[in-house]
């Protein structure tokens, strides 16, 4: 499986079978042991807040957040998780997050793939100027367009609806650029041969180009989904009622709100974080490759 997309990355992952010629075996030299200890301690320190989070959310309210800090859930309970739903509609929020993320990801991939095929394969007058204009717009921060978009949504009566979140997410200029670069590396002779056989452009795109673009599609799908799932700014501006909220804004509402004790807040954070981390562990390789190839920071 290749992770090289637009630039050579060669990010090493755990089960990387290719031997690295540069890495000589330097086991058990004093330097190697010291390096190992330092990095292991750092790894533990990085994980400590997450472990603490997990432990407190399974501890009974009276014993959580003790001093010195408890690193085992004693006495163990799942009551904190059961208490979330009385304070915020957790499952409704999770569903909202999922709806927005799925539509944003699927929709923006479709729009981007169509446009990228046009920009890569189908010449028309003014095409390159339109593409350059779109690229220039990558410099425009979302905070600059958010006020007019808010006014637009208000006029369309879409405030406090999920459409207000996924509709603007359908246009993703970076993703168009990314796919165009990738399509440009696929030999044009392939689609010209298909054209001679009478294939339509839609056929060429979806039966020829898209199947050859697996790594690029996976990378953009992962990044778009993650950006939508974690988005806080958009929901903060567009959503106000509990049953419309997505998980990030729901968490903050729970913490700021009435009666939510700290253990319940922690249980809710755990319920949001752990599935994401599990999914990450399963798709770690593809995930890391997508970050390295696209170079997008959250």
């Amino acid at each position: 499986m290749s992770v090289d997309l637009t630039k050579p990355t060669g990010v090493e992952t755990a089960d990387d079978p290719a031997p690295r010629p540069r890495r000589r075996r330097r086991r058990f030299t004093p330097g190697q042991v010291l390096l190992g200890v330092v990095l292991a301690v750092l790894g533990v320190v990085m994980l400590a807040p997450l472990v603490w989070l997990l432990v407190q959310s399974f501890t009974e309210e009276g014993d959580a957040f003790g001093i010195p800090p408890g690193w085992l859930p004693k006495p163990f309970t799942t009551q904190n998780f059961q208490d979330i739903d009385g304070l915020i509609p957790f499952w409704r929020m999770a569903l909202n997050s999922l709806i927005v993320a799925v539509i944003s990801t699927g929709g923006s991939l479709l729009v981007s793939v169509l446009a990228a095929y046009g920009f890569s394969r189908l010449p028309f007058r003014g095409r390159d100027r339109i593409f350059a204009l779109m690229l220039a717009a990558l410099m425009v921060p979302v905070q600059m367009t958010i006020i007019p978009v808010f006014i637009l949504m208000r006029n369309l009566h879409m405030i406090d609806t999920l459409q207000a979140l996924w509709l603007p997410a359908l246009i993703n200029v970076f993703s168009i650029f990314f796919f165009r670069q990738y399509f440009n590396t696929i030999p044009k002779e392939l689609d010209e041969a298909a054209r001679i056989d009478g294939a339509s452009h839609l056929w060429i795109l979806f039966r020829l180009i898209v199947p050859l673009s697996g790594p690029a599609l996976a990378a953009m799908a992962i990044l778009t989904f993650e950006a939508s799932w974690n988005n806080y700014f958009g929901p903060l501006i567009f959503l106000s009622s509990h049953d419309k909220m997505t998980l990030p804004i729901g968490l903050v509402t729970l913490q700021a709100g009435q009666g939510g004790s700290s253990v319940v807040v922690f249980a809710a954070i755990t319920a949001v974080v752990v599935p994401v981390l599990v999914v990450f562990l399963i798709f770690q390789r593809a995930f890391v490759a997508s970050i390295a190839s696209a170079g997008i920071r959250g």
Partner: protein, 304 residues
């Protein structure tokens, strides 16, 4: 969109059957105009008006821009944002580079996997969860940082209410959250440095430091530069953690960032025209800094 078999096939040559290309691009172009280009132009126009979203808007000329010059809170927000961004770039580049160097040299595969995963875990989590978690981690009474610093004899400040420590605390949280990204970019860059060059320098008698300074770092300068630009752009737009942890800008506006100020003006006090003018300033600064960084890269970065 189908071409009948036998019809002459030309996929090159502008103008000919150009409508097919237009059809493919048009959904994206339409959305682009509605949600990016149009709002961009609208923000520029709005910056010359004063409007509260309720009563009719009034033309204000350059009033919003002159108001910015005498807005002490805006200066404070800009200063905070620059301090945060510069600190973020420095700590991420140094940390990410050293970590990549260290992990790349680890002989143990299992340990390497553990370190890479633990560095990257926080980056996957949403800012909302990270910010809420760290509010507790740095809590002055039961937070784990407070406790363990106390164990080694350091009395923690009250991080989020002490004006001197609120911004450094946010810098630290941001480092924890995004160092995995910088690390991965650096690791990828490090692995493109040809091993033969390092071997050659070694056999010429260079020691470890000399190899690092004269071979590895120059060859990695495009990666370091790229990571620096991306980190700066991300840091300059910092909003989620500061808004969640210190919703009012912290003690004495110590953590008020420029995007937070924009949010306050636009969506809390509904000074839409003034907020638009501030957003134009954010755009101008980001464009200028990006241009400056690319100009500097021509001077210092090893040829790509």
């Amino acid at each position: 969109m189908t071409t009948a078999p036998g019809e002459q096939v030309t996929t090159t040559g502008a103008g000919h059957r150009g409508w097919v290309g237009v059809a493919f691009v048009s959904p994206a172009a339409l959305l682009f105009v509605v949600f990016i280009l149009g709002p961009f132009v609208a923000a520029i126009i709005l910056s010359f008006y004063s409007w509260d979203m309720l009563t009719p808007s009034k033309f204000n000329g350059i009033g919003n821009f002159t108001q910015m010059f005498s807005d002490a809170t805006l200066y404070k927000a800009l200063a905070n944002t620059f301090i945060f961004s510069i600190a973020s770039v420095i700590t991420h580049l140094i940390g990410g580079f050293l970590l990549a160097l260290g992990v790349n040299r680890l002989a143990s595969r299992a340990l390497s996997y553990f370190v890479r995963t633990s560095l990257f875990f926080p980056f996957v989590i949403s800012w909302a969860a990270v910010a809420l978690l760290w509010k507790y981690v740095l809590d002055p009474t039961f937070g784990i940082v407070t406790y363990y610093l106390g164990e080694i004899g350091i009395t923690s400040p009250d991080w989020f209410t002490d004006p001197h420590w609120a911004l450094p605390a946010i810098i630290a949280i941001d480092w924890w959250h995004t160092i995995g990204f910088t690390f991965i970019i650096m690791l990828a860059g490090l692995q493109t440095v040809p091993g033969e060059l390092i071997e050659a320098a070694r056999s010429d008698g260079c020691n470890g430091w000399q190899v690092l300074w004269n071979v590895t770092i120059p060859l990695m300068s495009p990666t370091i530069f790229f990571a620096g630009v991306i980190t700066f752009i991300g840091a300059f737009q910092i909003f989620d953690p500061v808004q969640i942890i210190t919703p009012n800008g912290g003690p004495d506006n110590a953590t008020l960032t420029i995007v937070m100020y924009l949010y306050q003006k636009g969506f809390q006090s509904f000074q839409v025209g003034y907020a638009s003018a501030v957003s134009l300033l954010v755009f101008a600064i980001m464009a200028a800094v990006t241009a400056l960084q690319f100009w500097a890269s021509k001077k210092w970065v090893h040829s790509v």
